[in-house]
């Protein structure tokens, strides 16, 4: 009985997708398809790496008790995930649009030259929005793995002459490395399938697997979208397998 939801919610749709994908592959591969995959992969990889670094700094900052700024940053990190992606994207457009306008006005006045849009409409604002949106996922995972490290480890390292940052690098980082990897993978998958922010902020002619699927699926051209959709599902399975293996290992241990 427990398998019924899995059957109807995953296995059957997955098989249908797979058969569509097979049809579209035999009908000839879309040459754009590789480029979309590469776009998705490179953006998600870059953004998830930055997000994990930001998340680590926020979580570690909060661990150092007497930093009020860090505990505020920790709370702010949650807001990006709580608000709708479209709202966040519009906020980013307004912010960087304004910055670009000012930069252009200054350059026009001083050098009689317009550098164009530097931040808005470029990869920068897309990456920025991802890094605002996803630290909450990162800090959640990193917090729990840092909490397993006794504070006396921090104290030992500090009293042996290392600053807080050097302590993080030499003590905490090696001890949480594997869970950082898991966290990065979860964020990576989230970014791969993220839609509203990507749709609104991606540079012109920059398609990812997610936007590609969205365009075709919204036109009910399911066959054409199936291969990209399948890719996203397969990438998403990675963390599921990894996490369930971790959970199983914990149960045994």
């Amino acid at each position: 009985m427990a398998l019924v939801p899995v059957l109807f919610g995953f296995v059957i749709p997955f098989l249908i997708l797979a058969s569509y994908a097979l049809e579209s592959v035999t009908a000839g591969l879309d040459s754009q398809w590789l480029r979309y995959s590469w776009n998705s992969l490179s953006v998600a990889l870059t953004a998830s790496t930055i997000t994990v670094v930001v998340g680590l700094l926020i979580s570690y900052g909060k661990r150092q008790q007497n930093r009020y700024g860090a505990s505020i940053a920790h709370r702010l990190a949650g807001i990006g995930y709580a608000m709708p992606g479209a709202v966040l994207a519009i906020g980013v457009v307004i912010l960087f649009g304004g910055v670009d306008r000012h930069i252009n006005a200054i350059f026009e006045e001083w050098f009689n030259y317009s550098p164009g849009l530097l931040f808005s409409g470029t990869m920068f604002s897309l990456l920025f929005a991802y890094v605002v949106r996803f630290p909450a996922i990162a800090t959640g995972g990193i917090d729990s793995s840092l909490s397993r490290i006794s504070p006396s480890m921090d104290h030992a390292s500090r009293s042996l002459g290392f600053s807080a940052l050097a302590t993080m690098r030499r003590v905490h980082l090696p001890m949480v490395r594997s869970s950082l990897f898991t966290v990065a993978l979860v964020v990576f998958v989230d970014i791969m399938k993220e839609l509203p922010v990507t749709l609104l902020l991606r540079p012109f002619n920059f398609e990812t697997l997610a936007t590609h699927v969205y365009y075709y699926a919204s036109d009910e051209m399911l066959r054409e979208s199936s291969l990209a959709a399948l890719m996203i599902v397969l990438v998403g399975l990675g963390p599921v397998i990894l996490l369930s293996r971790n959970v199983a290992a914990h149960r045994e241990g």
Binding site: M153, H155, A156
Partner: protein, 231 residues
């Protein structure tokens, strides 16, 4: 005066709840002190203030003639030259015993650091264990390694936070004596925090009694034993 540690009228609190009030004592270079009190009396907090992990609300802490903590200034923990050992040993699990000890040795060459680390291992009678990892050692062995690591950094003051509480019976008494003799021999200044009276009297040349955040008495074990100010 040749005081390694001077604490004047120290008070501090955790989120507005007072933990220590008006604590004053000095510790001369090379002396071993025990701080005895029930759990929750503020003795670990006192060590954390001296090590620089907790800010104080009033008073001053001087280490080696330098102002380390006051209400205006707080020297960073890494600049205080204090060594610490803990109840949970706090050895770094991702490093082997030798690398744990080398952690605090800041030397230009790796060879020199390795030689020094091995000397420290010999000192705590753990030579031959350099390639082991902390989880492969017993509690007593781990604490010896933790001591070697703290001594390797040549601290001017050693702070020991209930280091023997996880050990039992004879091993504990034996280790207390051994470490006391070792520290004495090397002229190291140290404070041991404990809730165990026997341990405190065995270790300290001076004993402080701490109760509810107030230092009730400070003196030699004989003075405290024969003329207690309270019971």
């Amino acid at each position: 005066m040749n005081n390694t540690l001077e604490i004047c009228n120290l008070s501090c609190s955790y989120s507005d709840c007072p933990v220590l009030e008006g604590v004053t004592f000095n510790l001369q270079k090379g002396r071993l002190a025990s701080l005895l009190g029930p759990s929750g009396c503020g003795k670990s907090t006192l060590l954390n203030v001296v090590a620089g992990f907790h800010e104080l609300d009033g008073g001053e802490v001087w280490i080696d003639g330098e102002l380390a903590s006051s209400t205006h200034a707080n020297m960073r923990p890494e600049n205080r030259n204090t060594g610490m050992i803990f109840q949970d040993y706090a050895l770094f699990p991702h490093l082997d015993v030798l690398k744990n000890i080398m952690f605090g040795i800041q030397k230009s060459s790796r060879e020199k650091a390795t030689i020094e680390a091995n000397e420290c291992l010999q000192l705590v009678r753990m030579d031959g264990y350099g390639a082991r990892y902390p989880h492969e050692l017993s509690g007593g062995q781990q604490q010896r390694v933790a001591l070697a690591r703290a001594l390797a950094a040549k601290p001017s003051l050693l702070l020991m936070d209930e280091p023997f509480s996880n050990l039992d019976g004879d091993l504990r008494r034996q280790l207390v004596r051994e470490i006391r003799d070792l520290l004495k021999e090397r002229g190291i200044t140290a404070i041991l925090v404990t809730h165990d009276q026997e341990e405190a009297f065995l270790f300290g040349e001076e004993v402080g009694l701490l109760k509810s955040g107030i230092l009730q008495q400070w003196g030699t074990p004989e003075e405290i034993y024969t003329r207690p100010v309270n019971r």
